[in-house]
Structure formats: structure tokens, C-alpha cells
Amino acid sequence: MWLDPVFGALIAISFAVLFASAAAHKWRSLRIFEEAFAAYALLPQIPKLHLVWVVPLSETAVALGLLARPTRASAALAGALLLLGYAGAIALNLHRGRRDIACGCGGPDQRRPIAGWMAWRNLVLALLLGMAIWPSSGRPITGMDSATIAFGVAAATVVYLCFDRLGQLTTRARALQGSP
């Protein structure tokens, strides 16, 4: 069974937008992201080895790879693994009880603490992106298909923003109630 090229392109372009925006935030303020990255305490700290740029570099590579047809499947696989890695890192730190570290997402001016919903979100996103690994049929893309892809990407972006804000609100509402 083949995936319709419209779905393939829709998923690939939407995730390319997501990864490109995530990478752009990190490139813009690599120093702030470095602090967040170090706070996750995943790797033993080697001061001379600055590994922090690996994250935005992989995100940029995934975003570009998703846009080109020949590299789409491998970029989708890499992106899904990256998302699973983030989910794992967040879950591990939540398990360690470190709820107050910054997630390193959402740009330099937003210091958002990590939360359980972020791990779940990344898991769902990884599953969605995993669908793009499936090979697309060779059906030619018509004008109507292009319109569907364009509108679909816009809709997916806004839906993502809505969920992201709602997630932040839940964290804030919990803070008001005084529970962690």
C-alpha cells in the first residue's frame, strides 16, 4: 500500500516548518539554549567539547531533508528519532524530579519549565512524522492537491500553536493551585 503524495507532502512540509522554527530559535540564541541543554544533564560535561550546536544542526538538516523528495524518508526517520529523544530527555528529567528546568523550546524569551504533556506531545509528533517514512505513490500532484497541501500546512501550524498555548496554560493553572 502506498501513501497518497498529498498526505506525504502535507506531513513533510508541516514538520519542515516545525523543525525550521525550532532550529531558528536555537541558532538565534545558542548561548541560552546551551544553558537549557546543560540543565538536562544527559551527557557528562566535557567543557572543551561544545556539543550544543549538534541539536539545531540536526533540526536544520531534518527540515531541509523533509522538503526534498529523495531524502524525505530518511529525514522523517531522523526527525522522529530526534523527537523521541526529546521526549525521553524530558521524561527522564521529570522522573528525576527536576520539574523546574527550562525545556529549551519556544525561543529565548520564553523560559518554560518541562512538563509531562511535552513528552506526550513529542511522542504523538514522532508517530505522525513516522507516517512520512512510508513511500508515496507516484501520482502526479494537481493544482487542487497543491491548494490542499498549502491550506493543510497552515491549518496544522495553527492547530499546533493552539495546543502549545493550551499546554502552557495548564502548567500555569497548576501553579495557581499550588500543585506541581
Partner: protein
């Protein structure tokens, strides 16, 4: 086929418009959340630091009972010092709140009202406002010791004589924020929210 394509595009536009409305509403909920967040007692930058020892000052209340404010207490009770004045209208509107707060928190807290100025005027004020039973202290050194610059000002001192919370209190919410700050172990509710935002 053309009609189907047009209706498809129109539907997409409708979906996008609705999604933007949802996004705007979610943002508005965020704004509302910020507005309804409890306001803590206003922290003044000058003055004593929370966590420091409160100044120990010997005073007498209007009925002549000696009080040693800021001293460690063996009974484990905390002391809330509220600085008021007969000439301050906000203080008058706050007195019922102080009275009910004193009743609600009576199992761990003693409330002491403090002021300075003419003794007779203070006595008249205390009896007019029905403050019998609440220790009322008239002492200039006390105000100076706690570096009170504006009224009504409250300072919460724990049983060890350590300043736990302080600030300008204009409402019940502000007053309760001091108790809440002590319970949460933070200097102010502002600090609590800043650490969690």
C-alpha cells in the same frame, strides 16, 4: 468538478478562519489567567530582608501590657505586625479584614497593631474602630526598626524571631498573601509565581 474544487477551497478558508479564532481565544485565556492570578502584598525595595532576624523592640500596648516584639517565642506562635494610622483611610477599611484574619489564624498567629503619634488620638481611634482585645502599640522606634515608609504595612515574624514576609497591604488578598508566602516558604507570592511561570 469545478464546483467541488471551489467548495473545497471555501471550506479550507472557513477552517483556517475558525482555527485563528480558536488561537485568539486561547491567547485571551492566557491574558485572563494573568489578570486573575493572586496579587501578593507589594514588596518595597527598601527595608528589611525576608529571612533576616527581625529587630527586637520592647514596647507597651495601649493598656500598658509590656510586649517584646521580634523576640524568639517558646510557644511557637508567629506575630503579625500591622502598621496603621488614624489618618490613613486605607488602614480604616483594612481593619475589619485584620480582625477576621486574626480570628481565622488564631491557632498560630498573634496580631499586633502598631502606630506612632499622639497617644490620645490613638486611644480614640482604637476605641472608635472597636479594636478592644487587639494589642495596639504606639511606638516610633518600632516603625523605624521595621523601616516602614508607607501604610498600611504588615510584617510577619515567626516564632524564632525571623522576618518571614512583609509588604504593603491594601486588601484581604494582600494580607493573606503574607500567610501564603510563609506557608510556601517564599519571600513573596511574586517570587513564587516568578519561579513557576
Amino acid at each position: 468538478m469545478t464546483a467541488l474544487a471551489i467548495s473545497n477551497v471555501v471550506l479550507w478558508i472557513a477552517v483556517l478562519a475558525l482555527l485563528f479564532v480558536v488561537l485568539a481565544l486561547v491567547r485571551q485565556i492566557g491574558v485572563l489567567h494573568e489578570r486573575i492570578a493572586p496579587a501578593g502584598a507589594l514588596m518595597l525595595n527598601r527595608g528589611l530582608t525576608v529571612g533576616e532576624r527581625a529587630p527586637m523592640i520592647d514596647v507597651e500596648d495601649l493598656e500598658g501590657r509590656p510586649l517584646r516584639l521580634g523576640a524568639p517565642r517558646e510557644d511557637g506562635r508567629s506575630t503579625l505586625l500591622v502598621f496603621v494610622s488614624p489618618t490613613c483611610p486605607v488602614c480604616k477599611s483594612l481593619l475589619p479584614v485584620i480582625r477576621s484574619g486574626r480570628k481565622d489564624e488564631q491557632d498560630w498567629l498573634d496580631v499586633v497593631l502598631a502606630s506612632d503619634g499622639d497617644l490620645e488620638e490613638q486611644r480614640r481611634f482604637a476605641s472608635e474602630q472597636g479594636l478592644d482585645g487587639v494589642p495596639y502599640v504606639v511606638s516610633t522606634p518600632l516603625g523605624l526598626g521595621y523601616q516602614v515608609s508607607r501604610l498600611p504595612f504588615a510584617a510577619l515574624v515567626d516564632s524564632a524571631g525571623v522576618l518571614r514576609a512583609r509588604g504593603l497591604v491594601n486588601s484581604r488578598e494582600h494580607l493573606e498573601s503574607l500567610f501564603e508566602a510563609q506557608r510556601l516558604g517564599v519571600a513573596s507570592l511574586q517570587e513564587y509565581f516568578a519561579s513557576r511561570a
